[in-house]
Every structure is written in structure tokens, then in C-alpha cells.
Amino acid sequence: MTLTLALPSKGRLKDQTVERLAEVGIMVSSPEDARSYRANVAGIEGLEVLLLSASEIARELRDGGIDFGVTGEDLVRETIPDPDRSVEIVARLGFGHADVVVAVPEAWVDVEAMEDLDDVAAGFRQKHRRRLRIATKYARLTQSFFTRRHGIQSYRIVESLGATEGAPAAGSADIIVDITSTGSTLVANRLKVLSDGVILKSEACLVMAKRERAEADALLAAEIAARFD
């Protein structure tokens, strides 16, 4: 019986995760070999701890490669098609706060809410011979917010790999959907968040993959979850 837990492999997110785990009696220490992705664990039996990137953790949760993972809710909801069915958020950890938001150029003084954007998007094709373009790394969240929540159909997603906030000035997109914690990057790029444009208030979460487990594993999973109650 072994369960696997994946933690972010570097940065503040890693440090805060290790601290939080220590609070519930799970002591994680970095491997002696800095290149190894397997960490040492004490304080619990049968748990293996891996160090992966936050986005990899979301993918592994989706694919069932790990039992538990600590990653951002934004990545969970973006990566996993039907998150409420395949994973369970065991605990919100209170750090790694960031919002996924819809932001438009400040110069769009007539656009203040999603309703305005709906109107602009609908008329865009007639005026510019193309759809309104949204740069984002969050295609799934964008689509479900625009289409399911607001009934907006007419837009194209431009997948952004690098600095999304620069897309409007670069001319590769008209608006963006991106993650922001303080908003300062948006302000520096003369972008503004729509009044009802917060798609998700995200933070780091302990997430469990839902699946059938042998009795011993199920008991251990329940014990880990209980420590975070």
C-alpha cells in the first residue's frame, strides 16, 4: 500500500506547501540529490512524495498518475475536463492566491462589464472582418465563462505561451484572460479587469484523484484528508 502525493518542485509555492504539510505532521525534506524528484517523508507511513511542476501535477491528477497533488485551482479547472467528477478538492490551503480575470484595454472606455463585451464581440466581425481575439493560457475556463455563463459565441481564442498581458499591444489579440494576484502587471500594460470579469478566485489546493482504491489505500487517503479538516 502506497499513495503518491505530488508537490510543486520549486519557489514560494513549494516552501509554503512544505510548511503546511509540516503543520499536519507530514515532514517533507528535499532529496539529497538535487536532481531527484522524489522527496523524503516522515510522520506518515505509505506515502510517497514527488516534486513536479504545478501544471504537471494537474495533468497527473487528470491522468490518474498520482493520488494527491498540491496545485492551483486554476490549473485543476483548466486541465481536467470534468473536475467535479474526477477529482476532489480536499483543502484550500490559504496561499498562492490569484484570480483568473477578463481584462480589456483601458482605452476601451465603453466596455466596463461582460455585457459590453458581448455587444462588442457580436459586432466585431462586421466591422473588422474577423472575430474578437482573446489571448489566454486558459482556453477551457475562458470558453466556459464566455459561452456557458454569458452566452457569448463570437470570439476566437489565441493560445498564449508567453506574456499574455502583452498581446493587445503586440496586436496578436484584442483582450486577454489571465491570472493576476496584485493587478500590477495589468495596470502596467494599461489593461483593466471588467467589473464582473473575475472568472475564478484561485488558491493552492490539496486535490485528490477520485478512484477505486484497495481498502488499506482508501483508509490512508481518508487519514490524509482528515488531517486537513
Binding site: V109, T147, G171
Partner: protein
């Protein structure tokens, strides 16, 4: 023909389409995905099977025939008017259930007599069902976005409100929400007071200059997206209607219109009665509606057997007028779906406006219904 899957209806259907002047066209199963995402929108992304070509281009398994047939028509630079028929597999992702469906249908491109072309699409789809052995007793539902647009215009609603309502036509929950929002009045919005004053005074020139300054400060390209003038014009429009709301009388008239649900031979009377109560004139849209009914009559379609629903539409912006469906009463899924899509060929890059109407049959459902399900 693809030859991949044959349906028991191929013989009679293809003979019928041929006889009605719509020869069979064959289009590849693998299609460029961008025309779909550009026209139907990103919502389609999850429902199509996407793949990438070696050069990075987005490709998909065709989720319908209308776009491939139109693209093939444009590529071949065929003369107009022209009718095409098709038959073969389409592919759509669903959470459960099958992902392949057999469709057959007709696309009617460039016919300038819109009323006749509309009527022909309805008549041909009914004849096609008959050729497949579908008995009487099916329910045909017809809607017309042109009448809805004419009704809004006759009510004298501000342009922005008309656009907002038209966008949701066919999605009753969204439409109801939009009507409710207009009746409550606009929510207050934050805006630089200096800009608000300029907008109130209708100072388009000064407003445009102000917006241009903001755009250049942000390093935004002026020529590739929304222009300063466009933003100024919309702000003026928005500020002008900010303090007004949809009045009770107009709301009631709109509700009365949307609740019209009668047989097609009684539709004219119902429409003029609802419009007349408020002294509205539906003008050319009603005249066209009548012309189409005459054309349906001439094509031997029984108007009393077709249901007209004023609120029936499809919320895709390239659908412009007629929409119709045939289904087994009580069934959730149509056997036939059709409609007029006058903007689609323009979206796909046609050099001139091409009126177009078409329909498709869901042959798997037809097979289940007629007991010829041999797959």
C-alpha cells in the same frame, strides 16, 4: 460518396435529390478547423475532433456538411445559383453516446428568389423523409428571425437593445434574461466624468481624440482592432440609453409576439393582431413571410400541418431568416434541421453576397424511427 458507411436510404434519397436538381457533391472528411471556429464559435471546439497537420494547421473531422460544401463551392468558383446534395458521416464529440452520424441534405446557394428557395428547402426535406419511409404525423416547426428583427425595429427600440435581443434569439433563457435586464434599466457604470460629459454632449470628435491618446499611451495598434472612433460612437450610444429602460408596454408586446405558437396558415392573422394592438407595422418582413407561405403552398406543402413559433430560432449569427425542424412528436432530437444562412458564404470569404438555405437529415434517427437501423 464516402463509401465508408452506407445507409439504407441512399438509393431513394440520391434519386430524389438528383431529380430536384441537387447533384451529389463529395467533400473530404478531414477539413480545416478554422472556418468552423470562426463561424460557429469557440464553443464548437469541445464538440469537434481536432487534430493538427504537419505544418501546424488545425484540422478536424467534419462536424457538418454545410461548411465543407460551401468551401468546395467557393474553391471551384462555380456559377450561381446552384444546389448541391451530400451524404456521409459527420463526427461530433459528446460526453456519452456515439460520435459518428450519417447525414444527408441539400445546400441551395445563390438563389435570388429567397421565398421560393426557402419553400423548396422545406418541401424537399419533407419529400426526403417520405422517400425514407417516414410516415405522416411528424411535427414541423418553423421560425423566422426576420420577423423578430422587424418587430424590434417597429417597436423603435434603441439599436444597442435590438442587437442585444437579436443575439439571444432562439435561446429563450438568455432572451428572457436580456429582456428582464432592459426592463430594469442599465446598471450604473464607472466612467471618467470628463468622458461622460463629452459622451452626453455627443462630442464624437473630442471623445475620439481622448481615446486615441489613451490608445497610443498604451502602445495599442490603431489599425488592427477597435478604432478610437468606434469606441467613441459606442460610448455615446451607451450613455444615451443609460437612463432609459424598456417600458412595460413594449415589454408586453414583445412577450405577446414571442408567445405566438400557431399553425402556419393562421400565423399572418396572429402576427398582424399582435402588431396591430400597438399600431406596429412589420412591413417587408411580413410581406416576405407571406410570399414564402404562398411558395410553400405552391410546392404542395400543407400550411396547416406546420407549426409557426415566433420564438424559434438559432443563436448563430450567420443564420438570418428561416429556421425549421422536423421531429417525431415528443422526441428531443430533430430528424431534419434547416435554415437560411445568408451571411455564411461572406464569412467564408465569398467576394459577393450569396443568399443560401439548406437542410440536413439525421439518417441514424430516421433509421431508428423506420426500423431500418442496420448499422
Amino acid at each position: 460518396m464516402d463509401g465508408l458507411e452506407v445507409s439504407p436510404f441512399d438509393g431513394p434519397l440520391l434519386a430524389l435529390f438528383e431529380k430536384r436538381g441537387a447533384p451529389l457533391v463529395s467533400v473530404p472528411i478531414l477539413q480545416p478547423a478554422d472556418p468552423y471556429l470562426d463561424t460557429a464559435g469557440e464553443a464548437l471546439r469541445r464538440r469537434i475532433f481536432l487534430t493538427r497537420g504537419e505544418g501546424g494547421e488545425n484540422l478536424c473531422l467534419r462536424p457538418d456538411f454545410t461548411i465543407p460544401v460551401c468551401l468546395s463551392h467557393l474553391a471551384e468558383r462555380q456559377a450561381l445559383p446552384r444546389r448541391y446534395s451530400y451524404r456521409g458521416l459527420i463526427f461530433r464529440q459528446q460526453r456519452s453516446g456515439p460520435a459518428e452520424f450519417i447525414q444527408a441534405g441539400v445546400e441551395d446557394l445563390g438563389e435570388p428568389d429567397l421565398a421560393s428557395a426557402d419553400a423548396r428547402a422545406v418541401a424537399d426535406s419533407l419529400a426526403a423523409l417520405e422517400a425514407c419511409g417516414v410516415g405522416a404525423g411528424m411535427q414541423t416547426i418553423l421560425g423566422d428571425q426576420g420577423l423578430f428583427e422587424a418587430f424590434l425595429a417597429a417597436l423603435g427600440l434603441p439599436d444597442g437593445w435590438q442587437r442585444r435581443l437579436i443575439r439571444t434569439f432562439g435561446e429563450n433563457a438568455l432572451l428572457g434574461k436580456a429582456m428582464g435586464a432592459l426592463a430594469r434599466g442599465a446598471k450604473p457604470f464607472t466612467l471618467d466624468p470628463a468622458l461622460r460629459d463629452l459622451a452626453k454632449a455627443g462630442e464624437a470628435g473630442e471623445l475620439t481624440r481622448e481615446i486615441r491618446v489613451r490608445m497610443s499611451e498604451a502602445g495599442l495598434p490603431i489599425h488592427t482592432g477597435r478604432s478610437p472612433g468606434e469606441i467613441a460612437a459606442r460610448l455615446i450610444e451607451k450613455v444615451a440609453v443609460a437612463e432609459t429602460r424598456l417600458d412595460e408596454g413594449a415589454l408586453e408586446a414583445l412577450r405577446a409576439f414571442l408567445s405566438i405558437d400557431c399553425s402556419l396558415d393562421q400565423a399572418r392573422e396572429r402576427l398582424t393582431s399582435v402588431a396591430g394592438r400597438r399600431g406596429l407595422d412589420l412591413g417587408p418582413a411580413l410581406a416576405f413571410f407571406e410570399a414564402r407561405n404562398h411558395a410553400l403552398d405552391a410546392a404542395m406543402v400543407d400550411l396547416s400541418a406546420i407549426r409557426y413559433r415566433a420564438a424559434f430560432g438559432r443563436p448563430l449569427d450567420y443564420y438570418t431568416g428561416l429556421v425549421f425542424e422536423v421531429r417525431e412528436p415528443g422526441s428531443a432530437e430533430p430528424l431534419v434541421g434547416g435554415g437560411r444562412y445568408d451571411r455564411l458564404l461572406d464569412y467564408l470569404g465569398a467576394s459577393e453576397a450569396v443568399p443560401a438555405v439548406g437542410f440536413s437529415l439525421w439518417l441514424d434517427r430516421v433509421a431508428t424511427l423506420t426500423g431500418k437501423d442496420g448499422r
